[in-house]
């Protein structure tokens, strides 16, 4: 009988012991994979959101930084305004290469004139924009016309309708962006001209008109001259222009980063506790099993099996159980994380995108290795002890 076949029969022979070890391996692999997927997924999501914003500095009204970050990251709409004259003053600041204003708007809550409730709308100026326009030229080979919008990955036109209704005004969805796992996936980008037309139509067709204050903007996107220090430019804007807050691109989403760090500490701690308890539990289960099977293994030795063969049989059992449990844990975790992604985002309050396939494959291998190492480590000592016992003593006791 081959080593693996013998190990398989031993596994089948004691279902309770096998079930406990399998469950531990499943938990370890699942925990390790969940930790990796959420942490890498959240980090990736934050990075993609920063790339999507595409500006070195974002200038927002004083005191609105947190709300704007929350809107961009979690899709919680916000409206904050500052005078449009800020755009020219920022453009005149030292080492600023380009500036472009944006208006932050939102659809109404549960109103029949809006297809989607509380959706974040970002209106940009196509004459100065350097964030959306280059992407549009690459994707649809042109610019957005009046009544056209582009949406995040989760935006869709409802079945049976030709467009999306916003304040009673129908817009056509021209393209969808790649997913980022952030609120940008549920946001719409449109030109300021379309936003103003929507505001005009809303006075007649919407339950509540869309108000866009005259000569006001919500944010100014700033591109710094190549080779210049964005931090110095941001400081210059802060000192010379009152009533605004410049946010540096690398400093964006600081509160979410802090939450992510706290979450990382929590899940790593939970993983370590799971690993320690699993090693102890599996070690205990294997010790009990080894004691129970002393006679059986003694007979095996008396029939000519070497110490190393007995040791290998026991370790093969542990390895097979770790692999079965690890694979089941990985499959269940991926299924759960993919299906409950939105619930995870809503519960933890952090953006999260399922990692790309190569990263996911690496994380799965990591989870399997974690489970295999833990189970093997726990089984090593009992296996060594029993394989080195004298067969005559083992059979007599």
């Amino acid at each position: 009988m081959s080593l693996i076949r013998l190990a398989l029969r031993n596994i089948a022979g004691n279902t309770f012991r096998s079930f406990v070890v399998l469950l531990c391996a499943l938990l370890i692999s699942g925990m390790a994979l969940t930790t990796g997927m959420i942490l890498f997924g959240a980090d990736n999501s934050l990075r993609l959101a920063m790339d999507r914003l595409g500006a070195d500095i974002i200038v927002v009204p004083e005191g609105a930084a947190d709300r704007v970050e929350s809107a961009l990251l979690m899709g919680r709409p916000t409206q904050s305004w500052m005078p449009a004259s800020v755009v020219d003053r920022v453009a005149a600041a030292m080492d600023v290469q380009a500036v472009s204003p944006q208006l932050y708007l939102a659809t109404l809550s549960n109103a029949s004139c809006c297809t989607v409730s509380d959706m974040f709308l970002i209106a940009y100026d196509p004459r100065t924009d350097f964030v959306v326009t280059p992407w549009l030229e690459k994707t649809i080979g042109g610019v957005l016309r009046l009544g056209e919008v582009i949406g995040g990955a989760d935006v869709f036109v409802p079945a049976g309708e030709e467009g999306i209704k916003l304040y009673g005004y129908h817009v056509a969805l021209k393209a969808k962006m790649e997913p980022t796992g952030t609120g940008l996936d549920r946001s719409l980008f449109l030109t300021i001209e379309t936003a103003q037309e929507m505001a005009r139509v809303s006075r007649i067709k919407a339950e509540k008109p869309l108000e866009i204050p005259q000569n006001s903007v919500s944010a100014v996107m700033v591109k710094v001259r190549p080779g210049c220090n964005p931090r110095a430019v941001a400081l210059n804007i802060l000192v010379h222009i009152s009533g605004v807050t410049p946010i540096l691109s690398p400093d964006m989403f600081q509160s979410q980063r802090k939450e992510l760090t706290a979450l990382r500490n929590g899940v790593v701690m939970a993983l370590i506790i799971t690993l320690v308890f699993s090693v102890l539990l599996i070690g205990l289960v294997f010790s009990m099993a080894a004691n129970e099977r002393r006679r059986e293994l003694g007979v095996l030795r008396a029939l000519g099996a070497t110490r190393s063969f007995v040791f290998q049989v026991l370790l093969s059992e542990a390895g097979l159980l770790a692999m079965y449990g690890g694979v089941a844990g990985a499959a269940l975790t991926i299924l759960a994380v993919v299906l409950f992604r939105k619930l995870i985002i809503a519960t933890l309050g952090i953006p999260f995108l399922v990692p790309a396939l190569p990263m996911l494959a690496a994380l799965i291998l990591g989870g399997l290795a974690c489970s295999l190492l833990t189970v093997m480590l726990a089984a090593m000592l009992p296996a060594y002890r029993i394989s080195h016992e004298d067969p005559s003593i083992a059979m007599r006791e």
């Binding site: 029969r9 004691n14 279902t15 079945a159 299924l335 939105k342 619930l343």
Partner: protein, 146 residues
């Protein structure tokens, strides 16, 4: 096989109970008609139908826990798998859930039914394989200990 029986019963509880608290009607939401009358949303009917899958699955789990005959275990595993498929089909094809991605039925009820259904299907298939091995005599000791 007893473990699969217990597993089926736990999954049946999740499939039957979770939708009752995560559909839009349970959150006080309904479709308002122009006349002012309200009607339940789609997810309400999915939640109503969920026990129709959960209760038979609970019975299948219970029977599996007490059964020893290979043929019975094989048939119960097959039935469990079919019920798992129906749990997946309820929110995705047979009835559905609300259109908005942000509603609770979409972020909690639908994933619960799909996850529960997929795991039930997987456990049923494992049960089929194990029942088949009992028949071939490979796991005779295991069947005896069950």
């Amino acid at each position: 096989m007893k473990a699969i029986g217990i597993f089926f019963m736990l999954l049946a509880l999740a499939i039957g109970v979770v939708p009752q608290f995560t559909n839009c009607s349970a959150q006080g939401r309904a479709i308002e008609l122009p006349g002012g009358r309200t009607i339940p949303m789609k997810c309400h009917w999915t939640a109503m139908a969920a026990p129709a899958v959960a209760v038979p699955l609970l019975v299948v789990g219970g029977l599996m826990f007490f059964s020893r005959r290979r043929e019975t275990l094989w048939a119960l595993s097959l039935l469990g798998s079919v019920l798992g498929i129906f749990a997946i089909l309820l929110p995705t094809y047979l009835i559905g859930v609300c259109a908005s991605d942000e509603m609770l039925c979409n972020i909690a009820m639908k994933p619960t039914l799909i996850f529960g259904g997929a795991v039930t299907l997987g456990a049923g298939l494992v049960g089929l394989v194990l029942a088949g091995k009992i028949r071939s005599g490979l796991f005779t000791e295991a069947a005896g200990s069950d």
